[in-house]
């Protein structure tokens, strides 16, 4: 009886339609067990609104393409269960904050991807294919510092959560600076000084308020705020030594 009741309950889903000057449109979707936000969007697109634009690829939390604002917070929608976030059966789904809107739930990620370059993040090695692979001690402090910041899936959730980005679009933001921190701790990287200079340049880590909203929202529990604190310490203590 209980089960039947649950299955016949409906969710009220308000979805952003249009660009900057769009509006929220309300849909009714059947509430089910084990339903993610991405499932809801897909159901609306398949059965009610074929023109609804949204992004996803892997559906298992790997590709980072499905991030949206759900009830006011940035989230990866393929791994966010409805039960965890709905308020009395109501969901409000909007595109990510701090990025130009293209259509409905799709943002232009170019300004976010550009922050990688601005943070000095391209890797440049010192060896050729004829050299033996570098030996990196997994227990060294640099490797452990880098390890903590790897695995970023480029979902832009942290960038969307950061208030400083919303105030100052020149700010590189948490993901790019987190990447710079991993490179500064990569002993194979030839331009660690250059990476640091860029990460501390115009719009760089000096602008971070350390309030940790990036860390709070990162779906894979990275800690960009801690990485940025590491960069700030470099300003006083110099580049990390490999010990």
């Amino acid at each position: 009886m209980n089960k039947i009741k649950r299955e016949t309950q409906e969710l009220t889903v308000r979805v952003w339609r249009g660009k900057e000057d769009g509006k929220l449109v309300t849909y009714q979707v059947m509430s089910r067990e084990n339903q993610t936000i991405l499932d809801i969007i897909t159901e609306i697109q398949r059965f009610q609104e074929p023109g609804l634009a949204y992004r996803f690829a892997c559906r298992v939390g790997v590709c980072g393409s499905c991030a949206m604002t759900v009830n006011g917070r940035p989230r990866w929608t393929c791994r966010t269960h409805v039960k965890k976030v709905s308020h009395e059966g109501v969901l409000t789904i909007e595109p990510l904050r701090n990025l130009p809107r293209i259509k409905d739930l799709v943002c232009d990620l170019a300004p976010f991807i550009d922050t990688w370059q601005r943070a000095g993040a391209p890797f440049s090695g010192t060896k050729t294919r004829n050299d033996a692979p570098a030996l990196v001690d997994p227990e060294s402090s640099t490797r452990r510092a880098a390890e903590a910041g790897l695995q970023c899936i480029n979902c832009a959730v942290c960038y969307s959560a950061c208030d400083v980005v919303s105030w100052n679009r020149n700010y590189i933001g948490p993901a790019g600076l987190n990447r710079a921190w991993t490179l500064i701790n990569d002993i194979r990287h030839s331009d660690r000084k250059q990476t640091f200079d860029q990460a501390f340049g115009d719009g760089g880590c000096g602008s971070c308020h350390s309030h940790g909203n990036c860390t709070r929202h990162c779906p894979i529990e990275l800690n960009p705020s801690e990485s940025i604190a590491g960069l700030k310490r470099v300003a006083f203590k110099g580049l990390p030594k490999d010990v």
Binding site: V164, N168, D197, F200, D202, S207, F236
Partner: protein
């Protein structure tokens, strides 16, 4: 430049921390018998240490406050970066002149 300003702001904050505490303590101490110009001057006039203390105070504020003001304007206004730098420099100049004038007046 951003890195230099960041370091300057942090280092001036480290210097200002104890100076502000002593300054606040001094205020509490100084007002215990009522506050008069003559009483202040009797303590500060001819005192090398108080002039050094407040001279350092003024210099640290001159470095610290305009950098913070610059950050706030960058985040909260649409003013151009060049104008913001000029405004911050003007504030630095005002703090320096008013501060040093006050120090000179009491020693």
């Amino acid at each position: 430049m951003e890195r230099t300003l960041f370091l300057a702001q942090r280092i001036s904050a480290i210097i200002l921390g104890p100076l502000v505490l002593v300054h606040l303590g001094l205020i509490l101490f100084a007002v215990r018998n009522g506050l008069s110009g003559a009483e202040i001057l009797s303590r500060t006039q001819g005192s090398i240490s108080w002039s050094v203390f407040y001279g350092l105070f003024v210099l640290s504020v001159t470095v610290h406050a305009p950098i913070g003001l610059r950050n706030i304007l960058q985040e909260w206004s649409r003013i151009s970066p060049l104008t913001i730098n000029i405004v911050a420099l003007l504030f630095a100049l005002i703090f320096l002149l008013l501060g040093l004038r006050a120090v000179a007046a009491i020693v």
